[in-house]
């Protein structure tokens, strides 16, 4: 499995649009000059605008609902639902000061950071061993790790619930910190294997001759060179943790211990009335950390995503 060919995908080029595989001459304009503007308007800009509108509308709607006063939310005849002239921060205030929301945010952050750290540590070692130590059966183990990437949480949560219960981890963040790596390790190992392969092994040979141990080679030579890969893996793992739902739903019970996704689904319903404003404010606030992270590391993000697929 580790012998899969890799497409020479240049991540920077995917985002910036400038193809650097053909570095010397810029082909990015391509043959588009052959098309007239009206034609491009219909075949390119219009469909693109529609798709992007559909993809982004829910976020606009979330944001708008979060700042609309209640009476405007519930009376669609008197007020135009697409806009509001008197925004209110009541929902957000309620969310931050009259609920456990900050608690939940903290829990999610704590679990995500710990689980990600653990997984990156484990997968750096594993990926290095598979790619560079090439012990007996390394290829085989690499294949197995890829396989475990394909085992979804929805078939594991029932037995894991009994395991978690047996170990006395039920309703503690530790249960999530220990189970999330099963989702993260296969992915990040596979990603890091790809990165480690690109580091010339001559560097390691030099270090070996100079008397460095394998551990020194890993920490002083390979890791500094693999920093982009580490950032990609970290960001993607963090996002996966934040997104995880079924384990958190099954293993956590008390309100204070919940993570944002689970808490929002379960705790924001008063009897029969949904507190739409706070609900949407909560959903928005829960997405913001990831969107901000994403905005800073778009390139790493895309490289993680395409890396996971192409390896």
């Amino acid at each position: 499995m580790t012998e899969l060919p890799t497409l020479p995908v240049d991540v920077k080029a995917v985002l910036s649009g400038s193809s650097s595989t053909v570095a010397a001459t810029d082909y990015s304009e391509g043959m588009s000059y052959l098309e007239s503007l009206p034609r491009r308007l219909v075949t390119l800009y219009l469909p693109l605008a529609i798709i992007v509108f559909i993809l982004l509308f829910p976020f606009y709607w979330m944001g708008l609902t979060a700042i609309k006063p209640d009476e405007q939310l519930l009376d669609l005849d008197k007020f135009n639902p697409f806009w509001t002239w008197n925004p209110t921060f009541k929902h957000i205030y309620k969310l931050l000061f009259e609920s456990y929301y900050p608690h939940w945010l903290w829990n999610t952050m704590y679990v995500a950071v710990c689980a990600t750290m653990l997984s990156i540590f484990a997968s750096v070692l594993a990926a290095y061993a598979i790619v560079r130590l090439r012990y007996r059966g390394a290829q085989w183990v690499g294949g197995l790790i890829f396989m475990s990437y394909l085992v979804p949480p929805s078939i594991l949560f029932i037995p894991l619930a009994t395991v978690v219960f047996q170990y006395g981890l039920f309703d503690s963040p530790l249960a999530l910190i220990l189970t999330y790596p099963t989702i993260l390790i296969p992915f990040s190992t596979w990603l890091l294997m790809g990165y480690f392969k690109t580091i010339p092994f001559e560097l390691e040979e030099c270090a070996l001759i100079d008397g460095a141990s394998r551990w020194q080679i890993l920490t002083k030579i390979v890791l500094p060179l693999a920093i982009p890969g580490l950032i990609s893996a970290f960001i993607f793992c963090f996002t996966l943790c934040w997104n995880e739902f079924i384990y958190a739903l099954t293993f956590l019970q008390s309100t204070q211990n919940k993570t944002v996704p689970v808490a929002i689904v379960n705790e924001f319903v008063d009897g029969d009335i949904y507190r739409w404003g706070s609900l949407m404010a909560g959903a928005l606030a829960g997405s913001l950390p990831l969107v901000i992270l994403y905005a800073f590391f778009v390139e790493h993000y895309v490289s993680a995503m395409t890396g996971a697929v192409k390896e």
Binding site: Y135, S154, P159, I264
Partner: protein
């Protein structure tokens, strides 16, 4: 220097016997073992063991708080005659096929559009990916609100356009509810498919298109005979992942409908959660989730053969 080298050594340097400790420290296989240990421990204790345990539980009558006894295939026999289970299998297959097919079509189309040269290209590409990074549950909640029976913005718009007179009961009607969850799934999945395929598209040499243009090929022919064949390997992988994660989807359904109305949107994953955790019938729930394994294996086989195909397509060995 030369003299020193020529001088006979007075004392033979002692060659230490390689102790067991040295072997453990430097032997390639042992080192490999130590390096693999953390990852393997996680995967064995929290993945491989539960996977086996799950299959075992499906053959017992375990409930929450009570370990079960072996009852053979009784759970499966019971499921065989359970119409709700079959409904959930039907729903899962419907959900997976429709959502994956549309995700693929729209994703490929979007990738082709994004691959064109235009202003603000980089920003557009970054924007498109946002639905994929926002936690599924949170965007599902937005859809829950958009598809609300009374205050839906879609109903409102259609009413004001004069197309309908009554609010559409999006999540309360069987067909509409299915359509809505499928739509939400597509909405979330398209960016992933589009961006990964875009990465594939960028590896296609522009000179191929130029040559084809000179030969008088139409746009469609260029797509059919240049773009598509070159993209097949990456399509195979992306679609396997897409199918796999759509098939085992849980959170979107749970946040939007919880399987309702009248079980019309229950997938196998949600049904197993309901039976195992809410109703406490661990054995039965485990049987439902174990029933997903054959389908997953089929998806993995597709991925495997898709990957195999890549090798001869590129006509070279790797690395």
């Amino acid at each position: 220097m030369a003299d020193i080298a020529l001088q006979p050594r007075t004392a033979k340097p002692q060659i230490r016997e390689a102790t067991t400790w040295d072997q453990l420290r430097t032997n390639r296989n042992w080192l490999g073992f130590w390096f693999m240990l953390p990852a393997m421990a996680f995967l064995i204790f929290f993945l491989a063991y539960p996977l086996g345990l799950g299959i075992w539980i499906s053959f017992t009558d375990a409930r929450i708080g009570r370990p079960g006894v072996f009852i053979g295939t009784e759970n499966y026999e019971w499921l065989w005659g359970d119409s709700i289970f079959w409904l959930s299998v039907f729903n899962t297959l419907l959900y997976t096929t429709v959502a994956s097919a549309i995700k693929f079509a729209v994703g490929l189309y979007l990738a082709l559009l994004l691959n064109e040269n235009m202003p603000f290209k980089a920003m557009l590409r970054a924007l498109v990916l946002i639905p994929f990074i926002v936690p599924t549950v949170l965007s599902a909640l937005a859809f829950w609100w958009i598809f609300d029976s009374q205050f839906s913005i879609i109903s409102w718009s259609l009413k004001h356009l004069g197309l309908i007179t009554q609010n559409i009961n999006f999540l309360g009607d069987v067909t509409w509810a299915r359509a809505c969850v499928i739509f939400a799934n597509i909405w979330r999945g398209v960016p992933f498919v589009a961006i990964t395929l875009l990465a594939g598209l960028q590896t296609v040499q522009p000179s191929l298109y130029e040559a084809a243009t000179l030969d008088g090929a139409s746009k469609w022919e260029m797509f059919r005979f240049i773009t598509y064949p070159l993209l097949t390997p990456i399509i195979a992988v992306v679609m396997t992942f897409s199918v796999l994660f759509t098939f085992t989807d849980f959170q979107l359904i749970w946040a939007m409908t919880r399987g309702g109305p009248v079980n019309a949107t229950h997938l196998m994953a949600t049904l197993s959660y309901q039976r195992a955790i809410i109703a406490g019938q661990l054995g039965e729930g485990a049987a439902i989730s174990s029933a997903m394994i054959p389908f997953l294996l089929a998806a993995i086989m597709v991925s495997w053969f898709g990957l195999q195909r890549r090798k001869w397509q590129q006509g070279e060995n790797n690395d």
